[in-house]
Point group: C2
Chain length 267, copies 2
């Protein structure tokens, strides 16, 4: 039984392996890509991916490339979200954002390269590559859907204080839950899971992603619902996630720990 630290080590090693070194690509591109992915992050999505391979009875090594892929994809979305034309954020994780440090054009291109590298890396999975790339593509598109709706919502928020709550649900499902779903489904496929296990992982990850986003709102103090309603939603989603785990054939310890730790987290 591997520890969380061992799984994190595998994730960092794989990211370091696939990210370009100086000389391999133009220096500013390599630097910006590595700056974007950073080091020592929580790596929640790749942990979900590795743990999902274990949960279907596979090995964590089988899922190391899909795990790196989801982290690369997640970080490209952050690089582009931070751009002046989007959220205009100059700080990310306490450091200058990619565009603030490398300029806007380089940030657009570094984000583009991270997305290409994500798919390139996912294709290195040992089996079910077509399914794995399809899952990353579907959810990579879903994230953009969520981001577009979020922009529309923010624009509306300037003029109106009450937002249509069905739009909030749509944004949460796509902007946040989609990458959790891709993580779990890719890990399940890479670990050799059957169709039923993949469906269960999808249900687990949707609810985990929703609980994660509700908790984010609580931490940020900007939930669109009342405190009681937000709390109720966190509980419902977390229960649904944990219940799904019982239907999986492998070791679900990590997924269970992740689901329980995300709730009540402080950052």
């Amino acid at each position: 039984m591997k520890t969380k630290e061992e799984l994190l080590k595998l994730i960092e090693e794989t990211l370091d392996e696939v990210l370009p070194d100086a000389g391999e690509r133009p220096a500013v591109l390599s630097d910006a890509m590595r700056w974007a992915v950073g080091a020592g992050g929580k790596r929640i999505r790749p942990l979900v991916c590795l743990a999902s391979a274990l949960a279907v009875g596979g090995r964590e090594e089988d899922a190391k490339y899909p795990a790196a892929a989801i982290e690369l994809l997640h970080n490209y979305t952050l690089v582009h979200d931070d751009l002046p034309a989007m959220d205009n954020d100059t700080v990310r994780r306490g450091k200058p954002s990619v565009w603030a440090k490398f300029g806007e054009a380089n940030a657009i291109l570094a984000g583009d390269a991270l997305q290409a590298l994500a798919f390139r890396t996912a294709a290195r999975a040992p089996r079910n590559v077509a399914e794995i790339v399809a899952a990353l593509g579907d959810k990579g598109l879903g994230v953009v859907d969520g981001q577009i709706e979020d922009l529309v919502r923010e624009k509306a928020a300037n003029g109106a204080s009450v937002l249509p709550l069905d739009t909030v649900d749509y944004v949460y499902e796509h902007k946040t839950a989609d990458l959790f779903i891709a993580s779990a489904v890719m890990g399940g496929y890479a670990g050799g899971g059957d169709a039923k296990s993949i469906d269960v992982l999808r249900r687990f990850a949707l609810n985990l992603g929703l609980a994660f986003q509700y908790e984010d709102d609580i931490l940020d103090g900007d939930s669109p619902w009342s405190p009681e309603e937000t709390e109720r939603r966190v509980k419902t989603a977390t229960s649904a996630a944990v219940q799904a785990l019982a239907e999986l054939p492998g070791d679900t310890t990590f997924l269970s720990t992740l689901a329980n730790k995300l709730v009540g987290r402080k950052a």
Copy 2:
């Protein structure tokens, strides 16, 4: 024996099949993606992809999703190149560029979605999906390399009229030839080509891409070489491309016609 019009019809039908319809994704995203890909373009890269499947003895239908994928990827790069922080172009193919029509944030996101859809679509090939996605990923990264070097080059051009010509070669290989290589290699894999055929297709497409870019310079009147040297380069690259075709087992009529038509073209 299919006509060029039949191959173009297959490309347009496949693009229409995979691009989102109204209702499938947020309306502005679907609209911006379809605006970017346009209709009735020359579709040179997808034609190379379909023709490469034929050239290894496969069927053009086998390569229809990789062909659509390369056109989607090519168009995402144009959407991002046109952004204000990049080339700041408001017109593309005689129509408003995506950012000029839909705004900067939507153009960034539409480009991102086109790249995700490109990989999603490539993964629908009937065989060799891992190799096909790897080729698209490698060359999708190569295009960004070329673009970054091009930006550096343009910046240098403001102060200096003489550019290091080895940088020009690098930019041409990556910014232009890489997508031709991906087109040919993906088509070869989708058509069931063996390792030797794939290598030959790679050599063909590198030279085709270089000839294409030299001709572009002649058309634009901004070749970095003398007219004689540019002409010599066009001839050398075209000959190398055409010679490679003799080593392929299938029907190379289309690839041969493409190589000869690109030289001396008027637009």
